[in-house]
């Protein structure tokens, strides 16, 4: 029997899965389950975008927390000004994308691992900025004390869940579209050989910039949704490398540069997260060991491993 992964095979199965996921809260599923799924979809959207950057565009971006946090703080500013939270989500995503455009000026001059170093500094700088800057409210709020997100009264767990579901499913769909578009073909060409791509007319810089900005936008939406759920934001736990770790783990465990990779990886990361919730340190320790183990034993992750096993079983290449 074939295991169907949501959103992968065209046709009826994914539709049914999506419908079931949408009606879950109405069916009276326990709140805890909804929470697991909420985190799953938020992480999934972010991991899909990291996969787009690191797996398909050769950009090992370590500044995703910047996009998450900027979107979160934009949400705060919007809601503190009495505007509705959904405007906050959209504004957050736009600010994240604009910021990506801005920092692309210095960091896109860097290649490969230098890019990784350059991007690592960005969230650290932002953390300090938001430690000092109090965009709204008086001295009682902001800085290290953080902000409550306003205007969330009336949103239930089901509401949070639906938002996360929407961005999670959208991110899967978006990946499908991107990878089958001109952009996807161009990125695939760059990944295989950037010199040949350039001499075939591909504007390598521009395509990478596109995926960087798209990645920031979607990551920003997911980040804003996360902070709507959390209802609270402060700099230390926001602009933190832990976000980056979650994204890398999810992508790498499932399979970097493989479309289904983040889906599988995020399932495992979320399960581990809750199984080991009581032992916070131990959970991350185990995740670290898994990360190293996967890289040594199956660097293409679980999906890569499955693909390879399948390919070696049947000599015929899979055709679409």
């Amino acid at each position: 029997m074939k295991v169907a992964i949501p959103g992968l095979r065209g046709g009826l199965v994914p539709l049914v899965i999506v419908v079931v996921l949408v009606v879950l809260p109405i069916l009276g599923v326990p709140r805890a389950w909804l929470l697991y799924l909420f985190l799953f979809f938020v992480y999934l959207a972010m991991a899909n975008m990291w996969n787009l950057l690191a797996g398909y565009s050769g950009l090992i971006s370590l500044c995703q927390p910047a996009f998450i946090g900027l979107a979160g703080y934009t949400l705060v500013i919007i809601t503190w000004n009495g505007l509705p939270f959904y405007l906050g989500i959209i504004a957050g995503a736009i600010i994240a994308a604009a910021f990506a455009l801005l920092i692309s000026i210095p960091v896109f001059r860097l290649r490969g691992i230098y890019f990784a170093i350059g991007t690592l500094v960005v969230p650290e700088a932002l953390r300090i900025v938001f430690f000092l800057w109090r965009p709204v409210g008086g001295a009682l709020h902001g800085g290290g004390a953080g902000y409550m997100v306003k205007g969330l009264a009336g949103i239930s767990m089901s509401g949070f869940y639906w938002m996360a579901l929407a961005i999670g499913i959208t991110s899967i769909f978006l990946m499908r579209v991107i990878l089958r578009s001109r952009l996807g073909l161009g990125l695939a060409a760059i990944r295989d050989n950037d010199n040949t791509a350039a001499s075939s007319g591909v504007d390598v810089f521009r395509l990478k910039l596109y995926s960087f900005v798209i990645g920031a936008f979607v990551t920003g939406i997911a980040g804003a949704i996360f902070y709507i759920y959390q209802g609270y934001i402060e700099p230390v736990s926001t602009f933190t490398i832990r976000w980056t770790m979650i994204l890398i783990l999810s992508t790498v465990i499932g399979g970097i540069g493989i479309e289904e990779g983040p889906i599988v990886g995020t399932v495992i990361v979320v399960i581990l997260h809750f199984l080991l919730a009581r032992y916070a340190g131990l959970s991350l320790l185990i995740q670290g060991i898994i990360l190293v183990g996967i890289m040594l034993l199956a660097p293409q992750g679980i999906m890569g491993f499955i693909r390879k096993a399948r390919a070696s079983r049947s000599p015929v290449t899979v055709s679409h």
Binding site: A54, I60, I103, I105, P106, V107, R109, L110, G112, I113, Y114, A116, I117, G118, L120, V121, V122, E124, A125, I128, V129, F131, L132, I241, M245, I248, V252, I256, A280, G281, L282, L284, L285, Q287, G288, I289, I290, L291, V292, M295, L296, P299
Partner: protein, 288 residues
């Protein structure tokens, strides 16, 4: 005159602190220069060195600086093993794999430290760590001076080692052209493991002096990793003098940033300098 006198303190402290930052960055720079590996676990390995000294100091009652006689070989062995058993296998696969393994190692070390030592902030509070002295009206903590002296000694020893010994020359040769080094009869796999080991030995020294100077927690490694990156980005990879100067620039940025913008902002100036340097000269100011 008081304004100038006030400014003298951050200036002197920045330079002295810069020595420590250069020392922290040294191992990261060495590993990158030779293996082209960005060891994102470097900060955590430095902090591991700090915790070892803390263990030696609080449980065994050994002075942190003296504990280096055990700490350095221990971290050397750990580095040697990490390269030989984890990194070397991943080198051929792709550029990301070693980077992600380093991420994994970082997670592991942080959380082992967390489990053993709890997330509480600690310090290597030896008697001399709290002392200070006054020179020309500037009060200087003794720890800062020790940092600077330690950095000078380690950098001098390392540069002499690289310049004068067969092994040192082989490390330099491998960093310039790995394949040519192999063709000259150099066992590069072994050179890599030794390089990682040496880098970790310097991390052990950095860890001790860091612990004497600042309080630390199991997750402090990330902050010092970023500082080390900043030093390398300013100083350029693979240049000892550059690393030293990069450390001083970052140290000064921090102390002057603190002086003008307040303690909370002290690292902001440093990070902005890093980003500006990246935008203008990605290979670093002293890089090739």
């Amino acid at each position: 005159m008081t304004a100038l006198g006030n400014l003298a303190t951050p200036l002197v402290m920045g330079v002295l602190l810069g020595g420590l930052y250069g020392l922290i960055a040294l191992g990261l720079s060495l590993v990158f220069g030779v293996m082209r590996l960005i060891n994102v676990a470097h900060g955590d390995l430095v902090i591991l060195g700090t915790y070892f000294a803390y263990f030696a100091f609080t449980i065994l009652g050994i002075d942190p600086i003296l504990s280096l006689f055990i700490g350095m070989p221990l971290l050397f062995a750990l580095g040697f093993a990490i390269q030989k058993y984890l990194m070397s296998r991943s080198f051929g696969i792709s550029m990301e794999v070693p980077l992600i393994i380093a991420f994994g190692i970082s997670l592991i070390i942080q959380n082992v430290n967390q489990i053993i030592w709890t997330p509480l902030s600690r310090g290597l509070t030896t008697s001399y760590a709290l002392e200070s002295f006054v020179v020309g009206g500037v009060r200087i903590p003794l720890a800062y001076l020790l940092d600077f002296i330690a950095a000078l000694i380690v950098m001098l020893l390392l540069s002499q080692f690289l310049r004068r010994t067969y092994l040192g020359k082989a490390i330099v040769a491998a960093s310039q052209d790995t394949r040519a080094a192999q063709l000259m009869g150099i066992n590069t796999a072994r050179i890599y493991a030794l390089t990682f080991g040496i880098a970790m030995a310097t991390a052990a020294v950095a860890g001790v002096f860091l612990g004497i100077t600042f309080p630390f927690t199991p997750i402090s490694g990330i902050a010092f990793l970023i500082i080390a990156f900043g030093v390398i980005i300013i100083g350029g990879l693979g240049s000892m003098l550059g690393t030293f100067i990069g450390g001083i620039v970052l140290g000064l940025a921090q102390t002057l940033g603190g002086y003008f913008l307040g303690a909370a902002a002290q690292m902001l100036i440093a990070y902005i300098i890093v980003l500006v340097v990246l935008a203008i000269r990605p290979q670093g100011i002293f890089g090739r």
